[in-house]
């Protein structure tokens, strides 16, 4: 069993004309690597009609609907995160209800609003009520504001997690660029923040540092935009860890924090 907790799919209204090929490539590579379930999100229109990290309500609905259709089409292998923009509070809560009722298994917050902003609290309260985790996009050590996103770092996610101890948060793509040393230090003592290992970064020493900071009990495996780097981390971890420890990262931790019956063998 292998669960990718950080996947994405594209759709026909995204700017990418090759969206079908990219989706097919993800599924094909997933089969090669042995991914059992892709837990995925679609960030609105991927920039076509509203910004990737500030998606409009209508783009959010289209993306979530497309993902729900994919989830139905690939009932065994794809699960969805409901994407919302906290700035559209009423829409966000309604969209979460709709998507979770339809079978999505988590919430994806990207970079529409800083993680420690009070606007995220109602969303997290719903996460607690529904028993779903929140995958939060993170810039590892944000030293300034970056164009195109209101990015958060681990300190800001930690503040949100401390306000909602009953919700499990996934700190997105520790290998996704930025100072992961800063992130690990920030969330080391926050038990409801898990580290998602995805991202193109395959820095020597990063996995050892993750294990040291939060132990194998709080690591979850993922790929994001690069399945090759996900597979590389898995191969390296095979050399570092026992089979039972590796299973925690491959799927057992994910199975624990996602809702019961979210995955085939639950």
């Amino acid at each position: 069993m292998l669960i990718d907790v950080h996947a994405h799919f594209l759709h026909d209204r995204s700017p990418r004309t090759d969206w079908r090929e990219r989706n097919a490539s993800r599924l094909r590579a997933g089969e090669r690597v042995g991914i059992t379930v892709h837990v995925a999100s679609i960030l609105g229109s991927w920039g076509a009609t509203s910004p990737i990290y500030f998606p409009s309500p209508s783009d959010i609905e289209y993306g979530n609907n497309f993902l729900l259709a994919l989830q139905r089409e690939h009932a065994a292998g794809i699960r969805g995160y409901a994407v919302v923009n906290p700035n559209f509070q009423r829409h966000a809560l309604g969209e979460l209800t709709r998507c979770l009722d339809a079978g999505m298994v988590g919430i994806k917050l990207a970079a529409s609003r800083r993680a420690d902003d009070p606007l995220l609290d109602p969303i997290c309260r719903m996460a607690a009520e529904r028993g779903v985790p929140v995958l939060h996009h993170i810039w590892q050590h944000r030293r300034r504001d970056y164009p195109g996103q209101e990015a958060s770092d681990a300190v800001e996610l930690g503040a949100l997690a401390a306000r909602h101890p009953g919700v499990n948060f996934l700190l997105a793509h520790i290998g996704g660029g930025g100072d992961w040393i800063h992130s690990l230090a920030a969330i080391r003592s926050i038990p409801n923040v898990y580290v998602d290992l995805s991202g193109s970064g395959v820095d020597g020493g990063m996995l050892e540092a993750c294990i040291q900071a939060v132990s194998v009990e709080r690591l979850v495996w993922g790929c994001d935009l690069t399945i090759d780097s996900g597979w590389a981390k898995l191969r390296y971890l095979e050399h570092l860890l026992s089979a039972s420890e590796l299973d925690l990262i491959r799927w057992r931790n994910a199975a624990r924090i996602f809702p019961p019956n979210a995955f085939p063998t639950d």
Binding site: N23, A29, G178, S200, V202, G204, G205, L225, T226, H239
Partner: protein, 268 residues
């Protein structure tokens, strides 16, 4: 056979990196089935005189079939030609220069002189675009990344220069390749360590558009997990010939041409 053209030994100054000793790199090579590595001395990339690391590099690779030295050359320091002569006499696969880390102009007169000498000595020149993701570098690690425009300029500076560029991504490769004549682009090789695999499939695209013969297996270890470059190959559908080309033969062609040229020059 698998040849890693992009490997380092020695400590990194900006963060703790495990496995930087010679023994650890050899163990890592065993683990991921790398038969031979072209080794650069990592600490000296940041030294005032990077060539001061070469003697140790020669010492640790002396008589080794698995480790081949890639000595550093700083063309802004008087007497740098001696480093080239020694490299030539020792039959190294290539020399390296990291002008942005040495804080010299990547296309200035010193670099232009270096490429002329490398060309005349038929020594391949290795240059890294980067060593780490720019977003994570230490606040005091401020050397600029190598620019694609600089690579094009150097490539045009001497018609006999052969370049091996490491840590380049898809857009960098494309900018240089399609910004060069076919003759120019036939003198440049790219390591695969920074090129994305699926689902974006940058490597697969480049192998098709730029050509399999232009790419070589490189890992950037121990700063990067060597497993990544192998995973990229394992995710491709490659003929045995193409896989062998990527894993070793393209690099060996580059390496052998230097030796062949040495013989030719001696006879002449």
């Amino acid at each position: 056979m698998r040849v890693d053209v992009n490997s380092f030994v020695g400590a990194y100054p900006f963060r703790r990196v495990p496995g930087t000793s010679v023994q650890a790199v050899l163990q890592s090579m065993d683990r991921v089935a790398v038969d031979q590595a072209w080794i650069s001395h990592l600490p000296s990339v940041f030294w005032r005189d990077p060539a001061e690391g070469n003697s140790w590099l020669y010492q640790i690779t002396e008589g080794s079939e698995r480790l081949r030295p890639v000595p550093a050359v700083h063309p802004g320091l008087k007497g740098w030609e001696e480093a080239i002569r020694e490299a030539r006499s020792r039959g190294v696969p290539a020399v390296r220069c990291d002008p942005t880390y040495y804080a010299i102009d990547s296309t200035g007169p010193e670099m232009l002189r270096l490429v002329q000498v490398c060309a005349s000595e038929n020594l391949a020149l290795i240059m890294a675009v980067r060593l780490e993701d720019a977003r994570q570098r230490h606040p005091n690690d401020r050397a600029p990344e190598l620019a694609a425009a600089s690579v094009r300029t150097l490539l045009r500076a001497d018609p006999a220069l052969r370049l091996l560029i490491t840590h380049a991504d898809r857009s960098f490769v494309e900018e240089v390749h399609f910004g060069s004549t076919p003759e120019e682009s036939a003198r440049i090789w790219w390591d695969i360590c920074w090129i994305w695999g699926p689902p974006e499939d940058h490597l697969e695209t480049l192998l098709r558009t730029v050509g399999v013969e232009r790419f070589v297996f490189g890992t950037g270890q121990p700063l990067r997990l060597p497993d990544n470059s192998i995973a990229k190959l394992d995710l491709l559908t490659l003929s045995p010939e193409h896989r062998a080309g990527l894993e070793s033969e393209n690099a060996l062609i580059l390496s052998r041409s230097a030796r062949t040229s040495k013989t030719r020059r001696v006879k002449a």
